[in-house]
């Protein structure tokens, strides 16, 4: 959190844009192309003049060339309500000594909020930990980033909470980014995301994984799930290969399922720079493939 407050990340994401992947129905003027016909300089089409149209919209040059009276229609700009769903369960507090996984997730969430705010989009965040659910509704005011930073600074990942009900609470947003390790109610969350996508919302899945999860270091130890202490399994040399194979297979299946649902999936390793992860998420051409570093 200290790095977030220093402003280094804000400097790194300054100038980034997070455009909508399709036209929107936003009610207020913003940075995204709207389905409405508006007054932006960007030309859309001509339409034959009807009674009641403003005379100023008539393209008099066209009248002079063709003799037909037509009005010039342009695109309208709209805003895009954006919400970030940040997983703050106990599994995110890993490795226990450095909390790299949580730090990257928080940085990505904060950076996405900053980018959306830069696009004049109302942005909010929901932080789901085992203790309490903290929600900042989408706002377009300039203090939003500071509020998000304060919320993240006071959050310690702990406990366990299903994310699907929280995602359902964010229906009012046009765009939702889920930053999680998807080790909780992954199936229910995916089903809810499918509904969101089907209703025209954009869903981004940022899958945060720790390097120590990809290649466990404590060989010969008894590994315990921090959210489910009944899962206690020995991890020796022979078991590591099986573990890595199962984990890789699960990640691939997870990525495929989210992509099939119409969401944008991105894998982030906890030693990746946060600004690079954010750039890949907000760039429309971002690959949704599993990160090479993870394979």
């Amino acid at each position: 959190m200290q790095d977030l407050a220093s402003g280094i990340l804000l400097d790194a994401v300054r100038g980034m844009h997070w455009p909508a992947r399709r036209v929107t129905r936003g009610a207020y003027q913003g940075g995204h192309r709207s389905r409405r016909v508006g007054s932006s300089p960007e030309f859309m089409q001509y339409r034959e003049y009807r009674q009641g149209d403003e005379p100023s919209k008539i393209d008099w040059k066209l009248v002079a060339r063709t003799g037909r009276v037509a009005v010039r229609q342009t695109h309208d700009d709209s805003n895009f309500r954006t919400s970030i769903l940040l997983d703050a369960s106990a599994s995110m507090a890993f490795p226990p000594t450095t909390l790299d996984k949580w730090n990257l997730a928080a940085a990505v969430a904060f950076g996405l909020c900053a980018v959306a705010q830069g696009d004049r989009d109302p942005v909010g965040i929901a932080v789901a930990s085992g203790g309490e659910l903290q929600i900042l509704p989408p706002r377009a005011r300039m203090s939003t980033a500071a509020n998000v930073l304060g919320l993240l600074s006071n959050t310690t990942p702990s406990g366990s909470r299903p994310l699907a009900p929280v995602l359902a609470m964010l229906r009012t947003s046009n765009r939702i980014a889920i930053v999680s390790d998807f080790l909780g109610d992954a199936d229910a969350l995916l089903e809810m995301a499918k509904e969101m996508v089907a209703s025209g919302r954009e869903v981004f899945a940022v899958h945060v994984v720790s390097r120590a999860e990809l290649a466990p270091r404590d060989i010969g130890s008894l590994v315990v799930d921090p959210e489910e202490d009944t899962i206690r399994r020995p991890l020796d040399d022979s078991g590591v290969a099986e573990y890595q194979a199962a984990f890789t297979r699960w990640r691939e299946e997870l990525a495929a399922a989210w992509r099939a649902a119409g969401a944008v999936y991105h894998l982030a390793i906890d030693d990746d720079p946060a600004d690079r992860v954010i750039r890949q998420v907000v760039t429309p051409t971002a690959t949704s493939a599993v990160s090479p570093a993870a394979s």
Binding site: V224, D225, R232, L235, W250
Partner: protein
Amino acid sequence: MVAGGMIAAAVVALHFIVTREPRTVPLPTARFAPARPVRARARKIRLQDLLLLLLRVLLILAVGAALAEPVLDPPHRDLARIVVVDRSRAIADAAEVADSARALLGDGDALVLFDSTVVVARDGGRDSLAALVRSPNRGQLSPALIAALRTASDMREMADSFELAIISPLVAEQADLATDSIRALWPGAVRLVPVAASAANAAPAVVAIDAAADDPLRLSLSGLRSNSDTAASTVLIVRGALDAADSAWATGGPRALVHWPATHATAAGAPGLSAPWAARADRDTVGAVSAGSAVVVAPFERWAAYGSADASDTPARVVARWADGEPAAVETALGAGCVRTVAVGVPSVGDLVLHPRFARLAAALTEPCGGRTNAVVMDSVRLAALSGPTSGGYAPSSAFAPPETVRSPLVPWLLAAALLFGIAALLLQRRVSDAAVSVRGVESA
């Protein structure tokens, strides 16, 4: 001791029973690890481990034994003897007393030497008898009897019965009001071994004085002779500085030369006071002085201090003390006589010197050498009471209360052994750890 044994047994049991569970670490993706039964990896027991275990058990046992304060049963006898030996001024010959004591004292018996103080010798009593000398102090039987009772209590596990023997002239001055009561606490007869008493010195002193005509001390003492009439005197009071004639007079017979300076106003202090007497750096006023049974309460100015005597100094007897215990008058032997130095001022103002209590003090300070002794042997009634019934026999050990605290001589040895075991265990543990590290280093290389 039992607790120490139980703890040691628990340590041994834990050493063999406890297995070390693998280290537990959190891993959010633990569900992807293959589900296998958890197996504990036991270490192979090595010789060093057993040695370490042995040292630790010995350490615990030694500490437990030290805390239990074990006492070894002493050799038991049918009869033990407690010999009370008089070394006070009442005895005529110390060698005679020592011979009588040796005749009674056997191995394991206890020796109690007494005059005005008491010394108990449980071991090495014969050495104490070899060094026995006559003390100038009055003997007191009551403290000696109390010491005998305590010694019997300490020795009650060593014998079935005790015999108490008192080797003494048994003169009247050695008994006091408490003697009979204390004697009654001894649950048996007392064997009395009388020895020769020193000559009686109960004759009143004939005092001469060498002082000014208006010396106030003359008012306190009656029948004073002049310093020119010292031939028939036994005590000479000199209120000025001593000279060679005075010393020669005291050396020539059993005479007491009392040096009682009349003035102390000189810068060097009182005239004629020799070491270890010295002028006080800060003169003060003390409230009372006592000599024997005479006590005078008055604001005496204290102008001289009796320093610590060197080993080469002649043994001295304190004749009078100030209220705080500091010597006020001291007597030292000089040939056949003695010199008594008195650092008590005689007030020239007021009527204190006329009071009977000051007269008693002056009389006590002008007694013959060694003080007035009463060498009269106790009467038959008191001797019978002291001896007790002849049919009483020995005192059974069960009649004595056990001592309140029993000091075990084994405790320091056990603690030292525990310390050694602890150090050895630490060294062995460090050696085992170093060996393990080196083996790990070789494996990693």
